[in-house]
């Protein structure tokens, strides 16, 4: 039964396409149980994030590409004929490799981002929840996703792929932490009420800072302050709160600098008493560069924050070889197990046949050795069992390995021939037919 994946991601589809697919998945079109009921599908998991929509399948036969495309959501406004240009497919081991890389965030838009693990877990758990009504995840995809999540966690703990700031607001927070340590209780002032201000405000509040919002549009400042349990002040009130502020984040749409050296010298003639961090996220800049020359003022603009992010990304890229090693080991581990499934009936047959022979031979031997005590007879039983187990151990391991390495067909044929397992199967089938005839 082949493993298959069809999906689209930021590598293959623009955001306008990705968001439509994501919206369809969110709306449950198509639902996972519908997909699982498709002909030839044994197991299915749908992963949907803002950057990817992927369908992982275990099918009875190798599916044709058109059938796979039809299983994907069909967003309005995108012709089904156009979908293939945005999609990619993977088969067998490449599916495992892909999922392990995705969950380890090696395939993410921002290398090392932490959300993907939660998103993969949630996709798997959604499929498990459906399980109660209808089977959509079986032993193969369960093991695949559990192993993937384990490998993802290992990559996170054993490498430094998740360290450092990788976005503008988190870079601002990292700078603040390098100055103040913990931000708990620190007084932050946010100038502007745009999207960037809101993001920065959320980040600072999440770190425990208390915030004051300043905006020319007082209503918007009040609304943002109410939403984030912070305080709003008017632009005129800015000078009054400045001496108590430790962090300033500015992101206004003003066409000129609003925090000038002259203003700072007027409000804080002897400079700030404690370190003052100013993060200017505006373009054009809200803060005059000369303000950075004031003693105890640490001023950073967007370029500086990008420098912090670049440092983080370089550090994360340096961790890639180690992450790849962990992933390769995980993929090999899963693949050995998965391919080993092909030889399970064969191994079972071999063991049953060997056990049958052992029982027959022991019975015959014990009949000839009637003088043995019950303890001695038990010892003979145990000895033959141990011998058999030891003798079968190596062939079992080798059969699994051969299956994992893709040599299963030749080895299985040889093993069937050597141990006459086909004849045993024929005899079993003959017995079944006889039983059926007897019933008739």
């Amino acid at each position: 039964m082949p493993l298959t994946l069809i999906g689209l991601s930021h590598h293959t589809a623009p955001i306008e396409v990705r968001e439509r697919f994501a919206a369809e998945v969110q709306a449950g079109r198509p639902s996972l149980d519908q997909i699982a009921q498709s002909p030839g599908v044994s197991e299915a998991v749908m992963l949907s994030t803002c950057n990817r929509t992927e369908l992982y399948l275990l099918t009875e036969h190798e599916p044709d590409h058109d059938a796979l495309v039809r299983m994907l959501p069909q967003p309005p406004g995108i012709d089904v004929q156009d979908v293939p240009q945005f999609t990619y497919t993977r088969a067998e081991r490449a599916v495992v490799d892909h999922l392990f890389r995705v969950v380890s965030s090696l395939d993410s838009m921002i290398l090392g981002e932490p959300q993907i693990q939660g998103q993969v877990r949630s996709a798997y758990e959604s499929a498990l929840k459906l399980q109660r009504e209808q089977r959509v995840v079986g032993p193969v995809l369960s093991r695949l996703f559990e192993n993937a999540l384990r490998v993802g966690a290992q990559v996170r703990t054993d490498t430094r792929l998740g360290e450092g700031a990788a976005s503008v607001p988190s870079a601002a927070v990292e700078l603040a932490r390098k100055i103040f340590g913990s931000l708990r209780g620190r007084h932050a002032l946010i100038m502007g009420t745009g999207e960037m201000s809101e993001l920065a405000l959320d980040c600072l509040i999440a770190e425990g800072a208390r915030a004051t919002v300043v905006s020319r549009t007082e209503g918007r400042a009040r609304e943002l302050a109410r939403k984030t349990h912070s305080v709003a002040v008017s632009t005129e009130g800015f000078s009054a709160v400045l001496p108590t502020v430790e962090i300033i984040v500015t992101a206004t749409a003003a066409p000129h600098a609003i925090v000038t050296r002259e203003f700072m010298d007027r409000v804080l003639p002897r400079g700030p008493r404690e370190p003052l961090l100013i993060v200017d996220l505006a373009l054009p800049r809200d803060v005059e560069p000369e303000v950075g020359a004031i003693r105890n003022v640490f001023l950073y603009n967007l370029d500086d924050l990008h420098q912090v992010i670049q440092g983080t990304m370089a550090q994360r890229r340096a961790e890639l070889p180690l992450a790849e090693q962990i992933i390769i080991a995980g993929v090999t581990d899963f693949w050995t197990w998965y391919r080993g499934l092909d030889v399970v009936p064969m191994i079972r047959g071999l063991r049953e046949r060997a056990e049958q022979m052992r029982v027959q031979e022991v019975e015959r031997a014990l009949r000839a050795l009637g003088h043995l005590s019950p303890e001695d007879r038990a010892a003979v039983e145990a000895l033959t069992r141990q011998l058999l187990a030891k003798w079968l151990h190596q062939p079992t391991v080798k059969l699994r390995q051969a299956a994992a390495n893709g040599h299963a067909t030749d080895i299985l044929t040889a093993a069937r021939y050597l141990f006459e397992l086909d004849r045993e199967q024929d005899r079993e089938q003959e017995r079944d037919r006889e039983r059926e005839r007897d019933r008739d």
Binding site: R160, E163, G164, L175, R177, K178, I179, F180, G181, S182, R270, G271, P272, R273, E274, P275, R295, N296, F298, Y300, D304, Q307, V308, G311, A314, Q315, A318
Partner: protein, 272 residues
């Protein structure tokens, strides 16, 4: 080679291993010293403690008299402070400064020989032990304050100069270093004040003098003044943190330099 020397040598090697790990972490752009580094510091400290215990048993006295023994005890106290700091994850990079200091002290102790001083001081007993331990605690605290001050200045420079490289990532936040330096200074100041008070109480009681010509007393007073200056420089606002960091770094060099100068003068008059 005695067991005392072997244990001190092993301790030195462990400290150097931990220092090497700290250096390689900085060079590799890591954000902290790995746990293995902390384990090596703990090992070094345990072996060092064993060396000092063997010394005490063998010579039937604490390793407080004689330059070699004193250097070893001082290194041990700095090592203990370092291990305490390493337990607080954020200040592990102090190892970059403190381990070389410890290594110099231990190497000095091994070179000079680990045996009690030949001259028998009049000032022995519990008073003496309390005085020396408190004084060593003062000097160990000064070393920690110096390390925190030095890292503060480097981190401050990185932040102000927008140099977000290895030092920025590896060194602790300014606030953490400031608090650590102040705590070390307060502890050291009180320890040294008590040490000097005990010494003077003894000299006044038994010799009826302040022993102001005694070189050890002079060195102690110089160190006490450095502590006072560093603590006072933190008062007030407007960059007081950086001023205090610079003062303690300069003060540390003053203390070391004054020791060297007093050693030069000491030939005739006896000094540690």
């Amino acid at each position: 080679m005695t067991s005392i020397t072997v244990l001190h040598g092993a301790s030195l090697l462990s400290y150097l291993g931990a220092g090497g790990l700290a250096m390689s972490s900085l060079a590799a752009g890591h954000r902290n010293v790995p746990r293995a580094g902390v384990a090596l510091i703990a090992t070094a400290l345990l072996v060092h403690a064993a060396g000092l215990i063997v010394y005490t048993v063998r010579f039937a006295e604490l390793p407080l008299v004689g330059l070699g023994a004193s250097l070893s005890t001082l290194a041990f106290l700095i090592g203990a402070a370092l291990l305490g700091a390493a337990a607080l994850r954020s200040v592990r990079p102090l190892a970059l400064v403190l381990i070389p200091l410890i290594a110099i002290l231990l190497a000095g102790a091994l070179t000079l020989g680990l045996a009690p001083g030949r001259t028998v001081s009049q000032f022995r007993g519990v008073w003496f032990a309390a005085h020396v331990v408190l004084a060593f605690l003062g000097y160990a605290s000064l070393a920690v304050a110096f390390a925190a001050g030095l890292l503060y200045l480097v981190q401050w420079r990185a932040l102000k100069g927008k140099n977000f490289g290895r030092a920025f990532r590896f060194f602790p936040p300014l606030e953490t270093l400031d608090r650590l330096r102040q705590s070390a200074l307060f502890l050291g100041f009180f320890a040294l004040t008590f040490a000097l008070t005990l010494a003077w109480a003894w000299t006044i009681r038994f010799l009826n003098t302040l022993a102001t010509e005694n070189l050890q007393v002079i060195w102690g007073v110089v160190t006490w003044l450095v502590f006072s200056a560093a603590l006072l420089s933190r008062a007030g606002g407007g960059g007081a943190e950086r001023r205090a960091a610079a003062t303690v770094v300069a003060g540390f060099f003053v203390v070391v330099l004054s020791y060297v100068l007093l050693r030069v003068v000491a030939d005739a008059r006896g000094f540690l």
